[in-house]
């Protein structure tokens, strides 16, 4: 199959997945038991007409989809319901306009709430990912190169232990230690510094980032270390490494020109697969360190049972992961010349 057909197939599938997520997102929040209104409002003693008013306000009085029995959202005619008046259609229409509903808690548009948070999460995840990849890879390479020595065993155990740590707990421990040793106890910046000089603010944010990034790095470095180590061990046992040695190349040259390129291919795949876990980590770390990102938004929305926000965050997270996966997939296919031969 030519390269282009391959590309379009992948992109097409990603689009389909996004559509699936969009539909899933809608149905999750409508089909699952639990009336959003009753649970979404603080006062359980709300009178009936007040509940009705809330329902109309959030469009929950409209039929969910057209012809529920046949589960056909857009069928016209038989069910005598205007498909354009169903919740499903309204949801889709709002989405295309970038509207994700209104927060139960603040009554502000969800999109507005999430906008800034997305960048904060990307900042944290970005820093953490880069560090964990770099550190994990370096130690993984070292471990494989010096296989069966104490360096190898040490790195292996470190990787395994790091992988076994629950992210949120590591955050708690670091925060506990840190707060008793001069580190900020959470948040992205010290309150009241928004008018300070730019560099002060940058420094402040960086100080706040140290512990959460450290948590992130420790937990994820483990997996990269283990994967890099096993990938390189496999590569170094291959015949072409012996050929390279027979050609008279030095160990360093062989590592650089033959082994690493091949050993890194699985890392790209792992980065992609890890994206789901990365998000899970972000949720945990942001909750512990009160970092104002998407993960923190999930935590707060859960506490307050703010379903529109929860729904919006879920959608945003899921779509980002799908897109990132696509990018990783395409990158891999460019790196490995054997791929389109499928």
């Amino acid at each position: 199959m030519s390269r282009y057909r391959f590309l379009w197939k992948k992109i097409g599938w990603a689009i389909f997945t996004v559509l699936f997520v969009v539909v899933l997102n809608f149905f999750l929040f409508r089909v699952l038991p639990g009336d959003p209104v009753r649970s979404g409002t603080r006062d359980p003693r709300l009178k009936k007409d007040a509940q009705e008013a809330l329902r109309i306000r959030f469009g929950l009085d409209k039929p969910v989809i057209n012809c529920f029995e046949t589960l056909n959202p857009i069928k016209v005619g038989d069910c005598a319901i205007n498909p354009f008046e169903t919740q499903f259609f309204i949801y889709l229409r709002n989405l295309t306009q970038g509207e994700l509903g209104f927060s139960f808690h603040t009554n502000r548009p969800v999109a507005e709430v999430l906008g800034a948070r997305l960048w904060n999460t990307l900042l944290l995840i970005g820093a953490g990912q880069i560090l964990s990849i770099v550190i994990g890879m370096i130690f993984g390479i070292l471990a494989a190169w010096k296989a069966r020595t104490s360096i190898d065993y040490g790195a292996l155990i470190t990787g395994l232990v790091a992988w076994s740590l629950p992210t949120f707990w590591l955050g708690i421990i670091l925060l506990f230690w840190g707060s008793n040793n001069g580190f900020p106890i959470g948040g992205k910046a010290t309150p009241g510094t928004s008018s300070y000089p730019f560099f002060y603010q940058v420094g402040d944010i960086l100080r706040h980032m140290i512990l959460p990034t450290l948590t992130y790095t420790i937990v994820y470095m483990g997996e990269y270390l283990l994967v890099m180590r096993s990938s390189l061990l496999d590569v170094l046992a291959e015949d072409y490494i012996l050929t390279a040695k027979a050609k008279g190349l030095t160990t360093f040259q062989i590592l650089k020109d033959h082994a690493l390129k091949n050993a890194m291919l699985p890392i790209v795949t792992i980065i992609a697969i890890n994206l789901g876990f990365t998000v899970a980590g972000a949720i945990q770390i942001e909750s512990v360190f009160s970092w104002p990102g998407l993960g923190g938004a999930v935590y707060e929305a859960l506490e307050r049972r703010d379903y529109p926000v929860l729904q919006g965050v879920f959608l945003l997270i899921a779509i980002s992961v799908v897109l990132a996966n696509l990018i990783a997939d395409l990158t891999y296919s460019f790196l490995d010349p054997r791929v389109q031969a499928e």
Binding site: W13, T17, L28, P33, G34, A144, A147, R148, L160, V161, S164, P166, T167, F168, W169, I172, I173, L175, F176, S230, L233, D234, L236, A237, E238, D239, Y240, I241, L242, T243, A244, K245, A246, K247, G248, I254, L255, D257, H258, A259, K261, N262, G276, F277, V279, A280, I283, Q284, S287, V298, L302, Y307, L310, F314, I317, V321, L335, D336, P337, R338
Partner: protein
């Protein structure tokens, strides 16, 4: 046909299961993990007996009991409600283990079934199932779990189901690819050829081979389920009536343990999670090492220094067989492999001289040591090997004791190797031209880039590959082409000696003829000396000037090619010729040699061929024969030859 040596292995059945257990018990990581896990399970089961208090009641607790530091009554202090942390910790193990195992069980059953069905039946079914799996795989699972649990009841059962129903995707993928792999193996084809139906094949062939992988994956799934449950509980979605470690952390974190400085309430529950997850991780890792053993060494591990184990090396100059100069002079070369304390003698006292322009055939069957011998020449032995005796003289130096720098010079530019052109001898992600260029750059670093490219093209065309293939990857070459490319690469630095290691073994007879013709042509044109390693006596007769026959790591016989074939003196050579098909005498019935080649770590005390030799007598099984000279450079290691 009498088989002389008692080569039948002992009748103790070594089933895969008992073999597995034996190997596993030696794997330290796995055993530690198993022990840790057993401890956790025991604690969970006997919680009421171990725990000093019952954390399920709050009877008799007052506000002064909150966040008390560890003391004699409360070994790990008290929590935000005044309850004993240690007791909660003990009981907490139950929830984690129960959720972990049951949720994982659901995931594995679903994933296993989907994987096997998709892998085995293929076609539309597989497509559909895998697409669905991929969909779920991409959607990040924690957010999804969080959303679903948030919208439904946070009960333990619910959590188990949600985690279980969303956790099967990786299992399905792994099981599917393993099913595909097993399905294409020959014994499944054989089962079909016998007449077995799908059910029989799945139960008797697919399942037993998928199971090990499934078990390793199961362990991973359990640990993920436990982590997921604790995260859920920490986020406030746990079952408030169940004491879980995550729940304990939720309360502690949310109810001021930090500001109260109550580290015991924060550290302890997490430690429990780490203990259980780590035990599973270690166990899983250990299992994987046992079930999917990776080679113990790789090619970049440091080699072992050469030693001289025999007091005296025969240094008499052998009479020159030819007038032309000797390029390679190997004397009494011995190679050992060291593994876990045992020493295997792979090559013992082999000597030969390679003259300029000569093609020497190195003949022997599996386990005879011929590959080990040629790898030793350039010091390319695996990490467990070392030269234990002898010298390898090339260009006036002894390669056996040379330093790495000296070797790096000689390798390829002096002695190069044509490896078997199988897929993996060339790096699959670099172009062929690049890999040839690399060799040239290493040994002639001053060649300008334009000239480099020309040289690469020149080499490719020399072996009959069109220039346009220079920028193609190895997988785009056919088998014959790959072999030619290996030859081109071996010649790139104008070596004096080329070692061809079974270069035509995997190729069709016609392609083999092409490659042999090419080799012969090049040898004559470039004046090379060649060592041609093979088990094919026909090819050796066709191409070589002299022949070295190896058996059990020693020289059985060495002579000019005509002598070997028409006047062989060593019984092994004679028997081997009788076993080898000869199209010029097609009606001649072939006679095989009874028994099998000796195992390198269990060599017979006398002549290594004695157990299978039709002419053996008493002395043969006690005394190893010397290498006798029969005139004109003809050598044979056999007691029968001694008289002459």
């Amino acid at each position: 046909m009498a088989i002389k040596a008692a080569e039948l292995k002992p009748a103790v059945p070594s089933s895969p299961l008992s073999g597995f257990w034996r190997t596993f018990s030696k794997n330290r990581m796995g055993v530690v993990g198993l022990v840790m896990l057993v401890v956790a399970i025991v604690v969970a089961i006997f919680a009421p007996l171990i725990s000093p208090y019952d954390p399920r009641t709050s009877k008799g607790l007052t506000s002064s009991d909150i966040y008390n530091a560890p003391s004699a009554e409360h070994w790990l202090g008290t929590d935000d409600a005044g309850k004993d942390v240690f007791s909660s910790f003990i009981y907490g193990s139950r929830v984690s283990l129960i959720v972990g195992f049951f949720a994982a069980f659901i995931s594995i059953v679903i994933g296993g079934v989907i994987g096997i069905v998709a892998g085995f039946y293929g076609g539309r079914t597989e497509n559909l199932l895998m697409r669905f799996t991929d969909l779920l795989l991409v959607i990040p699972d924690l957010p999804l779990i969080v959303v679903i649990v948030a919208l439904t009841k946070p009960s333990l059962l619910n959590i188990i189901f949600v985690i279980g129903l969303l956790g099967w995707t990786t299992t399905a993928r792994i099981v599917r690819s393993q099913t595909l792999a097993v399905k294409s193996r020959k014994f499944v084809l054989r089962a079909r050829a016998i007449g077995a139906g799908n059910r029989h094949i799945i139960l008797n062939h697919i399942l037993p081979l998928v199971l090990p992988l499934l078990v390793v994956n199961a362990i991973l799934v359990i640990s993920l389920a436990i982590l997921n449950e604790s995260t859920l509980s920490f986020l406030g979605l746990g079952d408030p009536t169940a004491i879980s470690w995550g729940q304990m952390l939720n309360f502690a974190f949310g109810r001021g343990a930090m500001s109260a400085g109550a580290w015991w309430a924060l550290a302890t529950p997490g430690f429990g999670i780490v203990w259980v997850v780590l035990s599973l991780t270690l166990l899983g890792h250990g299992l994987e090492q046992v079930l999917n053993p990776r080679l113990e060494s790789h090619h970049l591990m440091p080699g072992r220094p050469t030693i001289q184990s025999e007091a005296e090396v025969k240094s008499e100059d052998r009479k020159r067989r030819k007038e032309s100069p000797v390029l390679l002079d190997v004397r009494n070369l011995s190679v050992q492999f060291l593994n876990d304390g045992s020493v295997a003698q792979a090559v013992h006292n082999v000597s030969f001289q390679l003259h300029e322009g000569e093609m020497m055939g190195l003949v022997g069957e599996s386990g005879c040591g011929k590959t080990t011998l040629i790898m030793a020449l350039n010091r390319l032995l695996p990490a467990a090997g070392r030269i234990s005796n002898g010298y390898v003289y090339f260009r006036g130096k002894d390669l056996a004791s040379a330093s790495e720098e000296e070797l790096a010079d000689v390798r390829w530019s002096g002695i190069s190797i044509v490896f078997q052109g199988a897929m993996n001898a060339l790096n699959p992600v670099r172009t062929v031209g690049d890999q040839i260029k690399e060799a040239i750059i290493k040994h002639i670093p001053t060649m300008p880039p334009g000239q480099l490219n020309e040289r690469v093209v020149e080499l490719l065309e020399l072996v009959g590959i069109a220039a346009e293939h220079k920028n193609h990857f190895p997988h785009q070459y056919s088998g014959g082409m790959r072999q030619r490319a290996m030859i081109a690469m071996a010649l790139s630095c104008n070596p004096e000696v080329v070692i061809a290691d079974e270069p035509t073994t995997a190729l069709d007879v016609m392609i083999q003829a092409q490659i042999l013709e090419l080799l012969d042509l090049l040898r004559k044109k470039l004046g090379l000396a060649v060592i041609f390693v093979t088990h094919d006596l026909g090819v050796v007769a066709e191409m070589c000037d002299s022949v070295l026959v190896m058996y059990g790591g020693v020289t059985a016989e060495f002579a000019e090619v005509d002598t070997i074939y028409n006047l062989p003196r060593h019984p092994y050579t004679q028997e081997l010729l009788k076993a080898f098909p000869d199209l010029s005498q097609p009606e001649k019935r072939l006679i095989s040699i009874p028994g099998y080649p000796p195992k390198l770590d269990a060599l017979p005390p006398g002549c290594r061929f004695a157990p299978r030799c039709p002419l053996a007598f008493e002395r043969c099984s006690t005394e190893m024969p010397r290498l006798h000279e029969l005139g004109d450079g003809h050598l044979a290691s056999c007691h029968l030859v001694e008289a002459s």
